[in-house]
Assembly symmetry: C2
Homo-oligomer: 335 residues x 2
C-alpha cells in the first residue's frame, strides 16, 4: 500500500508535476483550468504532499522547535503550559509545525529539522545557546532577558513588577516586608528578588536578612520559608512570594499556625494562576501575559525566519498588579 505521490496527481490531472507543485504552493502562474484539474485530482486521490520531501527539496522545514529545559521548576508550571498554549494556537494558525524538544541542556533539534527555535527559558541551557548562535539559526528566548547578547527575547519586567509589589504594600502601610524567592538559578527568580531588594532599599524599609527567604518555586521550600518567617520575633506584616503556588502554600502555612490572612499578614503572589484567585483567600498577585508571550515569541521568530529582521527584537511585556483579598492596611488611616 503505497501513498499516492505528486506524479500520480500530475498524471490524473494531465499536467506536469511542476504544475501540481505550483498549485500546492500557491504559485499564481497556473491557468485556472489547470488549477481546477489539479485540485480535483488531489481531492479525488486524497493526496497529501510528503513534508519530508518538501522540506528537503525546498530547504526549509516549516517547523519551529520548542525547546523546553527538563527542569521541574519550569517544565511543571502553569507558566509552561500557558506559553505552550500561546505558541501552539499561533502555530496552528500559520500552519507551521511545532517540534517539542525537552532537553537536558545538551541537545537541540537538528538544524535542518526546524526553521527556528523558541527556548522556553534557558535554565541549564546556557552552553547550548552558543551552539545555536554559531549555527545562524533564528531563535527567540522566552522568559529570559539576554541584553548583552544579540538574541531576541520575549519576557516580562520582573524587576519592575517586584518593585511595584513593594510599592503597593508600602502604600498599605507595611514597612516590614519579607519575600519568599523563586529558584535563584532562574533569571525570573533572581529578578523578582532584585526588584524587591531595590524597592526596599529605595524606600528605606526595615531590611533584615531573614526577610529574604530563598526558596525554589517548589511548595515544600515555600512552606519552610514561611515557617521561618513566622517564627521571627519581628515577624513581617507582609510577604511577597515569587509565584502563586508558593504564595498559596505560604498562606496555608500561616493559617495552619493560626495566623489570619490578610488580617495579620498580607501576601502577594506572582503569575495570576486561576487557582489562586479562587482559594480560601483570593490572592493579590502579578499577572503576566503568558499566552501573549508565546504568541509574540512565535511572531518575532517568524519575522526573523523571513529574514526581515537582522537585529534581535527584545520585548518586555507589561505585567499588572491584580488586587484581590490577600492584603490589608496595617494601620487605620488618618482621616
Amino acid at each position: 500500500m503505497k501513498a499516492t505521490d505528486i506524479s500520480e496527481v500530475a498524471r490524473t490531472a494531465g499536467v506536469s508535476t511542476t504544475t501540481v507543485s505550483r498549485v500546492i504552493n500557491g504559485v499564481t502562474t497556473v491557468s485556472p483550468e489547470n488549477r481546477r484539474r489539479v485540485l480535483v485530482a488531489i481531492k479525488q486521490l486524497k493526496y497529501r504532499p510528503n513534508p519530508n520531501a518538501q522540506r528537503l527539496a525546498a530547504g526549509k522545514a516549516n517547523t519551529v522547535g520548542l525547546v523546553i529545559p527538563r527542569y521541574e521548576g519550569i517544565f511543571n508550571s502553569y507558566f509552561a503550559l500557558e506559553v505552550i498554549k500561546g505558541i501552539g494556537t499561533s502555530a496552528e494558525r500559520i500552519r507551521c509545525d511545532l517540534l517539542l524538544h525537552i532537553t537536558n541542556g545538551k541537545t537541540i533539534p537538528a538544524r535542518s529539522a526546524v526553521d527556528g527555535l523558541i527556548f522556553l527559558d534557558i535554565y541549564g541551557c546556557e552552553e547550548l545557546l552558543d551552539d545555536v548562535l554559531n549555527q545562524d539559526i533564528p531563535i527567540v528566548v522566552v522568559n529570559h532577558r539576554l541584553e548583552d547578547l544579540p538574541v531576541s527575547y520575549v519576557a516580562v519586567d520582573n524587576i519592575l513588577a517586584a518593585e511595584r509589589v513593594v510599592g503597593y504594600l508600602v502604600g498599605l502601610g507595611h514597612r516590614d516586608i519579607a519575600t519568599i524567592t523563586g529558584d535563584l538559578k532562574t533569571q525570573a527568580g533572581l529578578d523578582r528578588l532584585d526588584g524587591f531588594l531595590k524597592a526596599v532599599k529605595a524606600r528605606q524599609l526595615v531590611m533584615r536578612d531573614a526577610y529574604v527567604q530563598v526558596a525554589d518555586f517548589g511548595l515544600p521550600s515555600a512552606r519552610k520559608a514561611m515557617e521561618v518567617l513566622l517564627k521571627l520575633s519581628d515577624r513581617p506584616t507582609a510577604v511577597f512570594a515569587a509565584s502563586d503556588d508558593m504564595a498559596l502554600e505560604a498562606i496555608q502555612t500561616a493559617l495552619d499556625k493560626g495566623i489570619r490572612v490578610p488580617e495579620e499578614l498580607s501576601v502577594v503572589g506572582f503569575d495570576d494562576n486561576p487557582i489562586a484567585s479562587h482559594g480560601r483567600v483570593p490572592l493579590t498577585t502579578v499577572r503576566q501575559p503568558l499566552q501573549e508571550m508565546g504568541r509574540q515569541a512565535l511572531e518575532v521568530l517568524v519575522q526573523q525566519m523571513g529574514g526581515k529582521k537582522r537585529n534581535p527584537t527584545q520585548l518586555l511585556l507589561p505585567t499588572e498588579l491584580v488586587e484581590r483579598q490577600s492584603c490589608r492596611q496595617t494601620w487605620i488611616e488618618a482621616r
Copy 2:
C-alpha cells in the same frame, strides 16, 4: 554558508557515503578502523545528518505526533501538562521527536511526517479517527476508551474510581451524596458520572435529581453547581467533584457561605493535583497516574510502529483514593 553533508564526511574519512551512513545508523558491518575514522570526521566537521533527507530516504519519520484537541477543558488542565511531560521525557529517552499538533478536530499531521500518533483525548476529533484508521497509521488514544474500535488506548477506569469514591463516602456514613460532574461531552466526565450513579443505585442511596449537578470542569460551573447544592432543603452531606479544581472551588464556595468542610460537608476530588493537597482543606481525591499514562502511551505506540503488535493494546491504569482531610464521618459510630 552551507551545512556539511555526508559526502564531505565520507571524503575526509576516506570512505564512501555508504560507510558513513552505516556508522550513523549503527550497522555493524563496518571495520573498526573505518568506524573510527568516520567518527573522527563527524566530530571534526561537527556533522549532523539532515533528518529530512533521512526520513525521506528511509521512509520513516522517527517522530510521533501528539495531537491535542483545541479544547480548554483538556488543553488547559493539569492533566494535559502531566501527560505531555510523561510522553516528552520518554520521547527524549528513545530519541524520537515529538510533533505537537493542536487541532480543531479537522487536521492531523501529514502521514509521512510521523510514524505514529498519540491523541490526548479525542474530544471533538471523532471524525478524524476514521481518517486515521483508514490511513493505517499507528495510533494510541489517551484518556478515552474505544472498546468497540480496534484502537489502542491508555486510560483509567473512571467508572470504577467513581464507584469507589461513593463506597468510601458511604463507609463514612454518608447517604446523601451529590456530584458535580465534568464536561459530559468528554468520556472521562461521563464515566465519572456513570460510576457515581451506578454506585448510588447499587447502594440504594438517596437520589434526587438535584444531586447531579452538571458542570464542565470549569471553575465557574463548579461554583454555580455548588451554590445550587447548598440551597437545597435536603442538602447533601458529601459531594464528589469530577476534578480537583472543581472540588477546590466547591469547598471555597461552601466556606464562603459559612459551611465548614469537612465538619458539615465532605468533598472528594479527582486528579490529585498537588495544589489541592496543600489548600485550606487538604483534599481527599482520586490519583491518576498521569505521567505514567503518557509513558505507556508512547510505549504502546512504539511497539505498534515496530510492527510487533497487530491487535490493539487497551490499557486501563489503576487509580488510587488518596485520603486527606476533606471528608468526615457523619455519625458517631457505635462502639
